[in-house]
């Protein structure tokens, strides 16, 4: 009887997987064109035009602080001052009629309360017809106000007067919205593609009935799984490269970080995605089922990660919940590497968390998948 050779078997299994993948046009589309397509869609089409929003201000305080506040809103060209003065009701009406995109009412006691160290409420109207732009405009307003507050409070301490007025926007000075989106979309696409492709590759064999035949051959379940994961991970790394190229060449995203570090964290994210795919495959009977289930998992994972919507615009509870989302760490890493040029020292916590997630998820899901092969 011929001696069994672990690597001969593994080679045969892997070659079969690669041949199957290369022949599956749908899978290839998912792997290489979907990332490009998604980047273009999010980068160009969906990137909401939230610059030069028409702003009206009724400044009852008319003080230094209130003027500084108005200035903070317009300085980035996010808002453009169209109206000032007039009555509260008139301003509200203008926003309601669509003549203005946003309105700000500053109460008369702002200066006094500020001096007394009390919190002041300013009133903001936003035209909510375009819910997406409105949400983002609201996000900008709260970000700008938050940074304004930080400036004020640090200013009152006298000791650290010289602080850049726009800390939170330092990595995107012109607030180019595509720069905000592109790293997020890389994360989103990678997550979607890796889960879909891996669950499809694993369920396919169950679906078509060949799994039973495969189980009768003298290969171990470990070999079967390994042969499925390795070619996919390699192909998905090409997906990462394609996405990165499109980001840099088309959207001119500055690649400021370390390329190797970027590839490493992307590899971890690919492993996380594959693990989710394996888990989906283990619990599904056919491709349709795994595809539908993937929506239940992928959508919350993407939403919670901060890939699309700014983390700050989430309710507090969900901000805490996002710590459970492995994609969150990848999004932070990608933003840091692409835009900030941060090194390992700045994102080591995220890298570590992502590694732990990748390891735990991969071992859990593969042991679950192997169990059902027995």
């Amino acid at each position: 009887m011929n001696k069994l050779n672990y690597f001969t078997q593994l080679k045969a299994l892997m070659r079969k997987e690669v041949q199957q993948i290369l022949r599956d046009k749908q899978l290839l589309f998912l792997l290489f064109f979907m990332p490009i397509l998604q980047l273009f869609i999010y980068g160009f089409a969906l990137s909401p035009e939230v610059d030069r929003l028409r702003l009206g201000v009724v400044d009852h305080a008319s003080s230094t602080v209130s003027r500084a506040l108005t200035a903070a809103l317009v300085v980035n060209d996010v808002f453009e001052l169209k109206e000032s003065g007039g009555r509260d009701a008139a301003l509200a009406a203008l926003v309601r009629d669509g003549a203005l995109d946003a309105g700000l009412i500053i109460p008369a006691d702002l200066e006094r309360r500020y001096r007394a160290g009390l919190k002041t409420n300013v009133q903001v109207f936003i035209d909510g017809v375009d819910a997406n732009s409105a949400g983002i405009a609201a996000g900008y307003v709260s970000q700008i106000l938050a940074s304004f507050n930080r400036n004020l409070s640090s200013g009152s301490q006298e000791s650290r007067e010289i602080i850049s007025p726009q800390i939170s926007f330092a990595y995107n000075p012109g607030l180019i919205s595509s720069w905000f989106f592109v790293p997020g979309v890389i994360a989103l696409v990678l997550n979607l593609v890796s889960t879909l492709v891996s669950s499809a590759a694993l369920v396919r064999e169950k679906d078509s009935g060949t799994l039973e035949q495969l189980l009768m051959t003298p290969v171990s379940s470990k070999q079967i799984l390994l042969a499925k994961i390795v070619p996919l991970a390699a192909l998905l790394m090409i997906t990462v490269a394609v996405a990165l190229l499109v980001s840099v060449l088309v959207f001119h995203v500055p690649f400021r970080g370390n390329l190797l570090l970027f590839l490493f964290v992307s590899f971890l994210a690919v492993l996380v995605g594959i693990s989710i795919g394996i888990a989906l495959a283990a619990y599904s009977e056919n491709q349709r089922q795994s595809l539908l289930t993937s929506f239940f998992i992928n959508l919350p994972v993407i939403q919670l990660s901060g890939a699309i919507a700014p983390m700050e615009s989430m309710p507090e509870f969900f901000q805490y919940l996002s710590y459970l989302d492995p994609l969150r760490y990848y999004v932070i890493c990608v933003r840091a590497l692409l835009l900030k040029g941060g090194g390992f020292s700045e994102i080591w916590i995220e890298v570590l968390s992502l590694s732990v997630y990748a390891f735990v998820l991969l071992s859990l899901s593969s042991s679950r998948f192997r169990k059902q092969l027995k």
Binding site: A12, K16, G209, E212
Partner: protein, 675 residues
Amino acid sequence: MTNALLEPEIVRARGLGKSYGALAAVKGIDFEIRQGEIFGLIGPDGAGKTTTFHIMGGVLEKNSGEIAVLGGSPRNMRLSIGYLTQQFSLYLDLSLIENLRYVAGLRDVTGRLFEERAARYLKLMDLDRFPNRLAGQLSGGMKQKLALCCALVGDPKLLLLDEPTTGVDPVSRREFWDLLSRVCSEGVTVAVATPYLDEAERCGRLILMHEGRILEEGSPAGLKERLGMHRLEVRSGKLHEMEKVLIEAQSLQAKSNGAERVLFDVQTFGDRLDVLVPDLEQGRALVRQLSQKAGLSEPLLSEQEPTLENVFVARLKHDLPEEEQKPFPFVAVNRELSETNSPGLGNSAKYGAIEASAVSKRFGNFQAVRSVSLRVEYGEIYGLLGANGAGKTTTIKILCGLIKPSGGSMALCGQVSDLRQESLRQKLGYMSQKFTLYDDLTIRENLEFYCGVYCVPEALRKERIAWVLRSSELTGQEGLLAGKLPGGWKQRLSFGAAVLHQPQVLFLDEPTSGVDPLARREMWKLIRDFSRQGTAILVTTHFLEEAENCNNLGFMVAGELVAEGSPSRIKEEQPGTLYELVCDDLQGAYARLKGQLEDWRTSMFADCLHVVLDDGASELPAVLSALSAEGVKIRSHRQVPFSLEDCFISIVQRAQRAHFDIAAKPQPPQSGGQK
């Protein structure tokens, strides 16, 4: 039936042709189908049967010639045509009645009319007990009956059935054909294509197609008569030697052109040889002479009618060049782990190659397999037979170690524990029902894959892959995707892929489903080659003529092994007698007999009825006089030998009856071997 030629024509084809690009599928055929007949199309894979059906059904346009269906073009007559395609055409997530209502709606059959027809056909098909069950939960046979209902609900004048019974078990198949006879007697004309030649026996008229042309046309009896051959069944103690001698003489005769051929064809079965001879006496004499010359003991000869398969094979052999099939490049096997066993039948080693004792399997509340014991030796071909749902596939999966039995013990290749061990699995070959090949890999990639996972040494790979390609007649096609192959070729290639590593134990789950008779014969030759090299083979099939190829048979009913033995022994031990009745009002006689006897004892063929009686001598006169009293004129009656299918059906029916009797009585203490 005698005046069938006077009935109006339902289909008339003249010079009908169809090509797909450069490939001519149908090359100018003439035929007509007449009102009220069952018209059969037989022929090997790729003969053009399905294309002909597509044209008659108005699904495809012809390229040349003429076709008239019910006097018009098929496309315009579609509302009067019921068409049952090869694949199940049901919505599996709709219930029986919903499927029926949907199809009826498409044909504008609604309201009272629909209710009436649905009730009638569901009752006819015996499906009226569970109209709300999902179609997906039905057995293969029931699905086909429901599909037939769907085809009938539009009240068609012509019913087209393209291989309606592939994958359906013998019991359901017989029931299906009885239904077709009933439908036909109500004035519907039926055209049917089938790879099962025992089914073709039940057609009124047949055409045999090959490579887009019609080779033969006529009634089953007429075709057999025109063949002008006798079938000689040869039984001998040394079957293998006998076969060698006869095949040698036969191929020698075939080569010397012009010389008189005494032996036309030799076919090997599990415990006999079938020899086709033009002249009975000459044939007998030659067989005796040859066996004497080879020093073999006197063979047992018995004369039988030729079968349709003989016609099929003889007619096509004329057409096909005789090819020498090279044997599989076997390598000597050293059975280290099972030294105690030597190949050959009837040894007394501790364990057979496959050994099961009191194996059972329970899924939840469902007892799929109960206390099955069997033993297959190296070199033996064991056939496991049973209706759909009898537990065959579960038993095979237990025996090859894919699922753990819930009780009992077993051994594989002498190994009793750790049956999932990789080194053990390397000695096993397994061909699952349909899914051995990867559709999205090419033929060569598939074969290389199996060479790789079984670690076939590099030195042997080339030769073995070449062998598989040759044996499945796919040499030169290795770049084709496996998924693009027609069913028959796929099965032959799957078989090749399952034996690439020269397994010591081979499991074949319905290996010949959808394979045409000629290719099936080739495949059995290969299976026999392996068994002679000492491979133990366990095979399931729905095709009982083919079960004759096995050395031993086991019949399963409701998860239990109810009968075991060689094909000849099973037939000998079959209680009762089988009679063939020829009478004028076949339908009427059939209906009366069904009322008089148990359902399974009667079945209808094209020109006769088959009746099984337990005690023929005393029962037959009563049956005959009862029929005469009802006005049925009986022309002739004679005793005919049981076919394996007859045995199968009566074994299954008797066992089921016994089973229900037991179930009705208080249960004896269970001894299922549950742990």
